[in-house]
């Protein structure tokens, strides 16, 4: 089964260390256990949501905020630049 690493309890994303396709199950490893079904194709090394995330919520990895969701993100969905924005180095917002 495909594997995904959860770094810190409470993180809402896991890093996939195998390439995954929609409908496949992923086994969570690291600081979580259980399985999550991918709702989208996700490349090797990319992240999936391991909780439902609402637009505006923090994306948490390493036990820290790595940005904010720009859309509602469902369990098993790809989490990346299409639905997460950074809060740092944002001169475009000035």
């Amino acid at each position: 089964m495909m594997r995904a690493i959860v770094l810190i309890p409470g993180d809402n994303v896991a890093t996939l260390i195998d390439p995954g396709s929609a409908g496949e199950d992923v086994r969570l490893a690291g600081n979580a256990s259980g399985t999550v079904t991918l709702s989208t194709d996700i490349p090797y090394g990319h992240k999936l949501a391991i909780a439902t995330i609402a637009a505006g919520d923090e994306i948490r990895k390493y036990g820290q905020s790595i940005g904010l969701a720009t859309a509602d993100i469902g369990l098993g969905e790809h989490v990346h630049v299409h639905n997460v924005e950074s809060l740092r180095g944002r001169g475009d917002r000035q």
Binding site: T15, G45, I66, G67, V81, L87, G89, Q94
Partner: protein
Amino acid sequence: MSTTFLGYERPDGQIGVRNHVAIISVMENVNSVVKAIAAAVDGTIAIPTLFVRGQLGDDYETTMASLAGLATNPNVAGVVVIGLEPVTTGELVARILPAGKPVEAVNVQLCGGSIEAIAMGTRYAARMVRDASRQFRVEAPISRLIVGVECGGSDTTSGLASNPAIGAVADRVVAAGGMVVISETSEFLGAEHLFADRAPDPVVRQKFIDAVTALERNVLAQGVDLRGSNPSKDNIRGGLTTIEEKALGAMSKAGTTPLVGVLGYGEKPEIPGMHFMATPAPAVESLTALAAGGCQIILFSTGVGNPIGSMVSTTIKVTGNRNTAKGMADNIDFDVSAILEDGEAIAAAGTRLFDYTRSVANGELTTSEILDTRETSISRFGLSM
């Protein structure tokens, strides 16, 4: 013994892990002379410069100090400085002389043009290489190492595997009394609060925070989104989504020891322990600064792959990405993908990497040395006038 390595003792007491004769350009208009001499003499390295003529103020000072830092790096046995005119060349030579190593200078305007300069420089270089070859390695403690930690072509495996493995080596070097330098200011955006808390000295803490704040202000003043520059396009392809995510992973290269010093671009650390050096994030500029800062070895973590190494500081390419370990094997020195593939403990991978690093210090060549995928680029902080 795992507490020693074999290196070349320099007149100033530093220990090199290589015995290069450096051919250094002090002005961009004489780079062709540098390249010709380095091509003619085995055992030399070419260090061209992109600017110098017309630079002024702090920008000029950074460039000259960095060139001098590269020349006085312990991996360099002797230096041939190539310049256009004697005043600027003399300034650089004066900065190198205190290190006590052999220095010769050639000025193209004074010696009859570029062909004569190549001839003169080649004779100096040939004599220096012969002299350097008479020197033998001596046993030295790990405490004499200055190790740079760097990442380039990062992806999410960097923060999960290769960076923490490098951090484990950093901890061992610091525990042995050595120095470690982590660079790349923008790669602390979103992690700076955690790294700042590692500084016992409030002055050091504030200096670090100020460096990160100044960089972010610059990005804001430019009105641009840092994303796309950092994380870069290949970082994003590798799964890194924001600079915060990249920074939290990048920081693990620094292991767990206290932050004891904050350095300017190319500045040499002076006390044992973990240092931060303020540099731009692109690897060549950062590697050049670490080399100017005296690092004999740089541990370079890569995820999606990057072939580059420092010309002066022996660079070790480490990956935790199984695809890169195979797909870019020609440019990878050390594979820690077992951390993700087989559950190898970070500490165990760190021990393997530490032993390999000692072997490289003792003389084992790395891919960037063998394939000469090396480059030098001193960052530019001001405009030409």
